[in-house]
Amino acid sequence: MKSIFKPGVFTLCLIPFFIITYKIFLNKLGPEPVKEITHFTGEWTLIFICITLSMSPLKRFTNFTFWIKIRRMLGLFVFFYATLHLLTYVVIDYRLDWSQIIDDVVKKKFIFIGFAAWLLLIPLVLTSSQKMIIALKHNWKRLHKLIYIIAIFGSLHFIWLSKTIYFKPLIYLIIIIFLLILRINFKRIISKTR
């Protein structure tokens, strides 16, 4: 069983990547292909953040350890799609026009916060191996709480770029906040206050 599951999840995680590649090569992206790729990869980053954050609550409610076993891979896919998203912006959209890109990062809050979220993902990727988990001990857990900040940043990035209605971006923020609330150990808080 074990040998099927992980490769299966891995393949599933690649489906969005295959879809966008297919659309690029068959020219199915419509009038604004660059924007389409940017939005697609950006949204899948947020979806993977939500999926990754669902794993430990799922484990708690179902008692399957399976969820925790695929969590690292899902987290790495967050970085994969976030990097595709960033590369689309930097390479395809702005053609490595660094002065314009730096100007945007500094001046535009939605780009700043999005870029910050991507940077914060790097330490998590670098410390994702089993070796690092052992080496960092309890600090590893602390460090990886960064994902909560990254998740909030990611949804704000989406909200701030929207023009009028925030319906879809707000849904991501609500899901993320809900997933964070699930992590609060109410029993412990209650017993502490007593």
Binding site: E32, I37, R95, Q100, D103, D104, K108
Partner: protein
Amino acid sequence: MKKFKYSEITPENIYKNRRKFIKNMGLAAGSMFIGQNLVTSASANTNKEELKLTDYRYVTTYNNYYEFGTGKSNPVERSQKFKTTPWDVVIDGEVENPIKISMDEILEMFPSEERIYKLRCVEGWSMVIPWLGFPLNKILKKALPTNKAKFVKFISVLDPEQMIGQRFPILDWPYKEGLRLDEAMHDLTILVTGLYGKKLPNQNGAPLRLMVPWKYGFKSSKAIVNIKLVDKMPTSSWMKASPNEYGFYSNVNPAVDHPRWSQATERVIGGGIISPRIPTTMFNGYGDEVANLYTGMDLKKYF
């Protein structure tokens, strides 16, 4: 400055459609088109030799028209049953001669000419569209603005029955826009009745819309029912929605960023994934014609 023939750059099938349209329009209108359809307005094409018309299918399927929804494809999907006949336009306010005029009368009284203009959206993309229309000043002059008239307010149709987007408080409905009187009287400012040699499609603002080529696209109101001459600067729907993001003037200006994104460059619609962004030009390239309207004004302050 180079004048170019529409026929040189128009795909043949579209061109044929247009001939058919001219036939349908009847002889009088037809001869008017034949006189003018081949040569574009020279003043409208300053430094635009490189401009390539945006495909008809993109012009008519990629639209910002929140009355029909906020998605780019919502207008084409949801506007096809929108009724544009009968349609009356009222011109009133600070005028000596208020007018109520039907669309049929407008088409008869104000012959349309072709104007190839670049449309620059505040979102950072642009299209090049062969509009059919006539200068707004022609119709304003008929109404005889009084000397109290300083601004022109454009009010679009309010019809939540037919326009699903108006059932939600996305913007202050009906859509309102405005121009200073001298901007409205400028020869480049046109009322549009068609594009690509055809009747204006519903998703592009049929039956009557504005086109002010040196301003961001949202200034060019669609489905206009009332043109009001006023003494005070009108508040547009976008100014009301977000005053620090959308100013009254909203001239295309690469040096003044939208608070959330840069306006230095734009993506050309239909260019595909390979085509790079192009630099945005002051007044969308119409500076020679319109810069004098703003001499002495701080365009960073009056954005």
